[in-house]
Every structure is written in structure tokens, then in C-alpha cells.
């Protein structure tokens, strides 16, 4: 256990950054952006911690330009593939050195495993899967996340324990470009000897490098029959869009879960999101916060999605679709 007191004079936000298929995982840049924004609002210093098997040239370039004051590098072949018990000592070492007020990690499988391990050692709490972060008048981190299956939002505080830890939902926070100045210092760090590994991990497949589609067409419960899906596949080709769905169509077995948008599915951040027959449950909304513009079509004027859409249309989806794809 690490004795922990953060001193008021050196208030710091620590951003947990993780490697991705190419360079750093994109969530890392979102976290760095949030850390910089909060630091600006609350007068914090910023730092990052990057734990990886190696530092690729791409990752180096991204880290140097991530806009944080410095990034501590914990590099060791034992850190790849990811095993939480192996990485936890590195994270704890960094926290012990920098004493952050706030520690942010990605709500990726890796971040969601590592954060609780560290939190137990630090005797602090975590708010998982945050979709918004802000500072309140007292300087505490207001951690917002969907609650109870996504029907409601909850604001959570960590009043006493430090650091205030949160994991950030991927794809929701804006990438904030920090320019190409390369102003971030990269500082090699060493946690000392690692504990003997209790498990052996072997990477089998890399994930497909996800190309973010500029237009996403999402279908919801308004779609009436499984046979219609083929029509909408054609429509998505006509629009040059990736076809996805809300949870209801996944539950009906018409779409695989890999195509589901929402809290229990994927987050998307396209230039344009077109929703057809989607009411807009909070659980769905959690997955579309990164969309630049939303065009929503529904027959029900009270559908929540129409409140957040840039182009909210009340119209029958079949009739409109028939005009788009005759």
C-alpha cells in the first residue's frame, strides 16, 4: 500500500494513456484533451502515464504532441500483451511519484481492468464509463455516467479519497489537437522489479484497424421486418454509409451485436449520423455523443432523439427511404 496525500500546492491531473494498434489508442488522445481542458479550468498541472511493451515511432510522435506537460514512459516487454497485475505496479509507481488529484483512464477493457486494481491499492473509488467530466465550484471532479441500464444519468463525486479516478467512455470526448510543436516531455520511468507473472498472455489476433465511417445509418425499432434489412443495406450503399442499429434490432436477432450503437454496444463519431425509426433511449444516446451532426427521422414527435438532432424530421421512415433508394 502506498501512503497517499496529495498536496494542494501541486495539484495535478494524470492521464492514463494506452497503446493501440497503431501508435497510441485513440482514447488516449481524448483523455489528454479532457485533462488539458480540466487543467485549464481548475489550475492543474498535467501529466500522462504510458505503459507499453515498446514505444513505436508513431506512438512517440503522438505522445510528444498530446499537449500534456510530460508523459512518464513505462516500457517493458512484460507489459505486452496486457496483463493487469503486471501493469498495476507501474501505474501505482507513477501515482506515488506524481500524487495526482485526478487520475483518468480509458474505459477500454484494459483501462477497466487496470483502474480497479490500482484503486484497491490506493483505497480510492472509480467512476466507470464517464460520458462527461467537469469541475464543480469546490474544485471536485463531477463524473457523469449513465445509470441503471442507461435510463438516467448520474453525477458522482469522490469527496475524500484521492486520486479521484474515472474511466472515460471511448468515442465521446473530442480529440483536441494540440498542434505539432512536440512540447510534451517524455520521461522514462522505472517501477523497479516486477512481481513474478501469475498468468501468461499470448496475443492471437490484432483487432481490425477500425476505419471510422464518415456517415453512419442507424436503424431502430421502427423497422418492421427482417426482410427489410436487405433494402436498408442497399440504402446504406446509396448513401455511402455504414449500416448499424439500436439495441432493439439486435435483440430481435436482425443485427449482430458488433453493429449495435449504444452503451452496451459501440460508440460512433461520424460526420453525419442518420437515424431511422430510432426513439433515442439514453442507452442509445450514450453511443452517439461524438457524432458531428445528427439527422433523425421518426413518426413520433415525442421521440427523444428529435430533441438532440440537428435535423429532426417527423416522417414515415419507409416512405422517406423509398424516395432515397427507389
Amino acid at each position: 500500500m502506498i501512503p497517499y496525500t496529495s498536496s494542494g500546492a501541486e495539484r495535478l491531473i494524470l492521464a492514463g494513456l494506452q497503446p493501440g494498434p497503431e501508435g497510441v489508442h485513440p482514447i488516449s488522445l481524448e483523455i489528454a484533451g479532457v485533462a488539458r481542458r480540466l487543467a485549464g479550468e481548475g489550475g492543474f498541472r498535467t501529466a500522462g502515464v504510458f505503459i507499453a511493451g515498446e514505444l513505436t515511432p508513431a506512438a512517440r510522435r503522438q505522445l510528444e504532441n498530446c499537449g500534456l506537460a510530460e508523459v512518464r514512459l513505462y516500457l517493458n516487454p512484460a507489459f505486452h500483451p496486457f496483463v493487469p497485475e503486471q501493469q498495476a505496479p507501474a501505474l501505482l509507481h507513477c501515482v506515488g511519484e506524481l500524487r495526482p488529484e485526478i487520475l483518468l483512464l480509458g474505459a477500454t477493457p484494459e483501462g477497466r481492468s487496470l483502474a480497479p486494481l490500482a484503486a484497491v491499492s490506493l483505497e480510492t473509488g472509480i467512476t466507470a464509463d464517464c460520458t462527461a467530466l467537469a469541475l464543480n465550484a469546490g474544485g471536485l471532479l463531477v463524473q457523469t455516467r449513465p445509470a441503471f441500464g442507461g435510463g438516467l444519468m448520474a453525477e458522482i463525486l469522490t469527496p475524500q479519497a484521492r486520486p479521484q479516478m474515472a474511466t472515460l467512455r471511448y468515442g465521446i470526448f473530442p480529440h483536441r489537437a494540440a498542434g505539432e510543436g512536440g512540447s510534451t516531455r517524455l520521461v522514462p520511468a522505472d517501477p523497479g522489479p516486477l512481481p513474478p507473472a501469475k498468468t501468461q498472455a499470448e496475443a492471437l489476433t490484432a483487432p481490425a484497424a477500425g476505419e471510422e465511417a464518415p456517415v453512419v445509418l442507424a436503424l431502430g425499432g421502427g423497422v418492421r421486418a427482417r426482410e427489410d434489412i436487405e433494402f436498408f443495406q442497399n440504402l446504406s450503399r446509396v448513401l455511402g454509409a455504414e449500416l448499424m442499429s439500436s439495441r432493439s434490432l439486435v435483440e430481435r436477432g436482425w443485427f449482430p451485436q458488433s453493429r449495435q450503437i449504444g452503451l452496451s454496444g459501440r460508440c460512433v463519431a461520424p460526420e453525419l449520423l442518420i437515424t431511422l425509426g430510432i426513439a433515442g433511449s439514453v442507452q442509445f444516446m450514450a453511443g452517439i455523443q461524438g457524432a458531428r451532426r445528427i439527422c433523425a427521422l421518426n413518426t413520433d414527435p415525442a421521440a427523444p432523439i428529435l430533441r438532440i438532432a440537428d435535423i429532426p424530421l417527423i416522417c414515415d421512415l419507409y416512405e422517406a427511404a423509398a424516395r432515397l433508394c427507389p
Binding site: 418492421r224 421486418a225 443485427f255 413518426t299 414515415d316 419507409y318 416512405e319 423509398a322
Partner: protein, 514 residues
């Protein structure tokens, strides 16, 4: 044209010209009225223009009842709102809804939006297709698996707003208009005269009998005698206890023996504990689910079906007295053992949420048959759903099951037998693979239809006649009943807007085969 008038007609998109029967038709126009007055306006407009008219719900029917034959489609899609919740004079909870509301939407509405007693309310009729509409459910008097206990949908209505093919709006409170031996008074003072003592002759379609409520007479009239404009649904409190059990057998005969012995347990106890569902699945139906489970996301939540089971019986029970239900189940278990079943070859769920998973089995079989049908149709475009929807006296179920099996074997046809064994409603679906097999399948279904009528059964028991099975009544029902049906349609739809007579008795060589 953003303005909206009562009889706003729009060109009909192709999506509204087909339904789950895989039949397709065509229509020039479609209208989406939002209330009975607008709907009546649409009908009067159709009459002015001389358009044939087709009434549509969610197009989930499997006999083509919603497939238009030119002219105008009236879609109830936008009549999809709950209207009013109240208690009747006996204190029973009632929800008045529009006909385009789906069973799913009704369930969601009941689970959140009502001033409910502690355990919540539900509407018992439960066709397995939750996207179907309540109006459609009335149109075919839907009877789901639990009709063993609850009967058809019509029986659960307090009153009905009926929109006639002439564009009139009738209010039909239950009890106001009833048949006697010679007919039934109609709203507005006229009378529907008939011989109310004729036997069903193979179909419950517009089948009167003395004492029958006009509302129940219209239930199951398939959108050919008008349609529901508003429905007042009698709700019930959720049962305190509910069980779902699937019993698996390595021999088909074991399943039928077990079902017969369960028959003796059917009646309600004084506290209302009762078997609500008694379903049967044959070997091919189980195989279909086995192979489909890996491909169909929804079926993946079914428990593993990897044992060499050859038949299954699915039951559901509900009631207020939990220990009493458990005693009933212990009794069932003894019967199961006596029928050669092994205790571990059972799936048991002790709550509504859990037994919902097993309902996937019931829903999955017809879904997967349709998927197979679609696949075959790519090679064989003339293929239609080739299925019998017969109801036979339950004691004959075993004989019929055996007849279906033997006939399919002799003809070398692939088929599936499953369904509501408890009420003698076994669905038999054939999957012919070429033109010759289509011909032989039709011959078989015709033979079975004749057999069924001969035994006093029904030949379009649950799924309706629609366009797929037109001609069936004319060929296998009694001539007197056909004449009666024809005369009813002439009175109820004098302008022949809905085309009932032609749909039910199409010219030969049309699609009017089983």
C-alpha cells in the same frame, strides 16, 4: 404537400404491398388515418373513387390478409396510441387503445405508464409475434400458445369501435348486440338475418350461433367485414406465480403419451391455478432450432439443445398459490417419468422473465421455417408457404400426428409438425424443394383438409384464410356455410370495397390453394 387532410392519399411504397406470407400485391395509394373519423373518411373516399380497399396492420400475418389487390391501402400504423385507462362497473381494469398499437408497445405501456396495483397488469392474449398490432390480432382473433387458458383475443374486449366497409362507425359494447336463432340486430336499427344453427363447416369465419355477441362474431373477420377502430382491452393482474417447463423425449410416442396424461390436469383449480400452454415439437422442429441457433442471434439465449431429443412438450402454468403450482408440477414430473422421460431432460423456469427465454423455442420454429422458405424460394420462385393450420378435436391429435408423419414419409417430403397440442391445433409445414414436390405438398394438404373437416375440425384455425388459403372453404367447407358467409359479406360490405367474396373464393388456378 405538407398539409394533412382527412383523406390524404399518398402513392403506396412497395414495402406496403407484401406481408409475412411472402405474397406480394400492388396498390396505387395508401392512407395513414390517425383516428376512426379519418379512417371512415378514407373509406368513403375509396368508395367515391371506386378503389378496392385493403386494411393493414403491421403486415405480420402469414396468409396474405394484408396484401393489397390494387386500389388503396388503409394502414393503421398511425393509429397506434393508448387512449384511456379506466375501471369498468365491476372494477376490472380496462385500457382503450387504437388498433395500430403493437403487442410490444402495449406491454411497454403497461409496464410503465399506468396507475397499477402492486403486481402490475397485463393483457393475456399473446400471439408470439410481438410486433403484430392489436387491430390485426382482432382481425384474426389471435390465439397464442396461452389460448388454452385464455381463448382468442376477441373474448378480452369490453367494447369495440367498428368501422364498416361503408364508412360508418359502430360502437359495440359487449352484451348490446347478440345473435338469436334467426340473426342479430345491428347498430342503426337494421338486422343481420341468418340461420344461427349451422355447424362451423371447417371455419369459424363469421360463424354465428345463438347468444353470440356481435363483437365476438366480428372477431376473426380478417379485415373483410370492416375493422377495429378502437378496442377496449380487459386487463388482468399478473399472476403471483408462473412456471414454464419443457419436457424432452427420445421417442415421439413418449411425448404424445405425456401430453395425453397431462390433459387430465387441464382444468383450473378453485384458486385459478391452471395450465395455460401445452405445445408440441416434433423431431424436425427441434433439429431446425438446433441448426438455427448458431446462426440466429436471438436463439442463442436458448439453453443448449445438444442431446439426442426427438420430441418435446412445453407447458406453462400460472396461478396465485405457489405451493399448489409446485404440487401440480411434481405431479407432472411423475407423469413424465411414467412416459419414459428422464428428470434431467427438462428445462424449468419459475418466473415470467425466465420462461420468456423458452418462448423463443415456440417463436423460433416458424421463424426458421420462413428463413428456409426464403432460401428455397431463391431457386424456386413459385414456392409459397405450404402449411396447414388445422384444428382437430384434441383426442384425435395423436392419430393426426401419425397421419402427417406417414404421409410425408410416403411422399418423400420434408416437413415440421409443432403447435398447440392442448387444443388440437397442430401446425404442419411442408418445405418442398422443386415443382413436383410443391404439387405433392398441395395434394397432401388438400387431403388433410378434407380429413379435418370430416372429423368436425377447422381448416383455417388460427392464422386466417387471407389470400393464401382462399378457395379452401369453398372446396372443403359445407355449401350451406359458404352461402351463409357470402350473404354476410354482401350485407356487411354492400359496395364490395374489401372484396371478401373474391378473396375467399378466387378463380381456380390462382393462388387459392392451401
Amino acid at each position: 404537400m405538407t398539409g394533412k387532410t382527412e383523406t390524404d392519399l399518398k402513392p403506396c411504397p412497395p414495402g406496403y404491398c407484401l406481408d409475412e406470407s411472402r405474397l406480394s400485391g400492388q396498390a396505387e395509394f395508401i392512407a395513414f388515418p390517425e383516428n376512426p373519423e379519418e379512417a371512415a373518411g378514407v373509406i368513403r373516399r375509396a368508395a367515391e373513387e371506386g378503389f378496392p380497399l385493403t386494411i393493414q396492420g403491421a403486415r405480420t400475418g402469414i396468409t396474405g390478409g394484408a396484401v393489397p389487390r390494387g386500389g388503396l391501402v388503409l394502414s393503421t400504423e398511425r393509429m397506434n396510441r393508448p387512449l384511456e385507462f379506466f375501471r369498468d362497473s365491476q372494477g376490472a381494469p380496462v385500457l382503450r387503445v387504437q388498433p395500430g398499437m403493437s403487442f410490444e408497445a402495449l406491454g411497454n405501456h403497461l409496464s410503465r405508464g399506468l396507475p397499477v396495483p402492486e403486481r402490475g397488469l397485463y393483457f393475456p392474449p399473446n400471439p408470439t409475434e410481438s410486433t403484430a398490432t392489436l387491430g390485426g390480432g382482432f382481425g384474426c382473433n389471435a390465439q397464442g400458445p396461452n389460448s388454452l387458458r385464455w381463448g382468442g383475443l376477441g373474448a378480452h374486449l369490453q367494447d369495440l369501435t367498428w368501422i364498416t366497409p361503408a364508412g360508418e362507425i359502430w360502437t359495440l359494447p359487449r352484451g348490446r348486440y347478440r345473435f338469436d336463432e334467426t340473426g342479430c340486430p345491428l347498430p342503426g336499427g337494421s338486422r343481420l338475418s341468418c340461420d344461427s344453427l349451422l355447424p362451423a363447416g371447417g371455419s369459424r369465419f363469421l360463424h354465428p350461433r345463438p347468444g353470440l355477441d356481435l363483437l365476438d362474431f366480428l372477431a376473426g373477420s380478417e379485415g373483410l367485414a370492416g375493422f377495429a377502430g378502437e378496442l377496449s382491452l380487459t386487463l388482468r393482474g399478473l399472476p403471483a406465480a408462473a412456471w414454464g417447463v419443457v419436457y424432452f423425449f427420445e421417442e415421439d410416442s413418449g411425448a404424445l403419451n405425456f401430453a395425453e396424461s397431462l390433459g387430465q390436469w387441464r382444468g383450473e383449480t378453485s384458486g385459478g391455478e391452471a395450465l395455460t400452454t401445452l405445445e408440441y415439437y416434433d423431431h424436425s422442429s427441434l433439429d431446425l432450432v438446433r441448426s438455427g441457433a448458431s446462426r440466429t442471434a436471438a436463439l442463442r439465449s436458448l439453453p443448449p439443445l445438444d442431446s439426442p431429443w426427438k420430441a418435446a412438450i412445453q407447458v406453462e402454468l400460472e396461478g396465485e398459490d405457489s405451493p399448489l403450482l409446485e404440487d401440480m408440477l411434481t405431479g407432472h414430473l411423475e407423469l413424465f417419468r411414467a412416459a419414459g422421460g428422464r428428470e434431467e431432460d427438462t428445462w424449468a423456469a419459475g418466473s415470467l422473465q425466465e420462461l420468456e427465454k423458452f418462448r423463443l423455442l415456440r417463436h423460433g420454429v416458424p421463424e426458421l421455417i420462413n428463413t428456409e422458405l426464403d432460401r428455397l424460394r431463391r431457386e424456386l420462385p413459385e414456392l409459397r408457404k405450404t402449411a396447414g393450420d388445422f384444428e382437430i378435436p384434441p383426442p384425435l391429435a395423436r392419430t393426426y400426428r401419425e397421419t402427417y408423419r406417414r404421409d410425408m414419409e410416403e411422399e418423400g417430403l420434408r416437413g415440421f409438425v409443432f403447435g398447440h397440442l392442448g387444443e388440437g391445433r397442430l401446425h404442419v409445414n411442408l418445405l418442398p424443394r422443386n415443382g413436383e414436390e410443391i404439387r405433392r405438398s398441395r395434394t397432401l394438404l388438400d387431403r388433410w383438409a378434407a380429413l379435418t373437416v370430416g372429423d368436425g375440425g377447422l381448416i383455417a384455425a388460427e392464422n386466417g384464410i387471407g389470400r393464401l388459403k382462399g378457395g379452401l372453404l369453398r372446396r372443403y367447407g359445407s355449401p350451406e356455410r359458404w352461402n351463409q358467409i357470402e350473404s354476410f359479406l354482401r350485407v356487411l360490405d354492400p359496395g364490395n370495397r374489401l372484396g371478401g367474396v373474391e378473396i375467399l373464393n378466387p378463380p381456380e388456378n390462382g393462388e387459392g390453394r392451401t
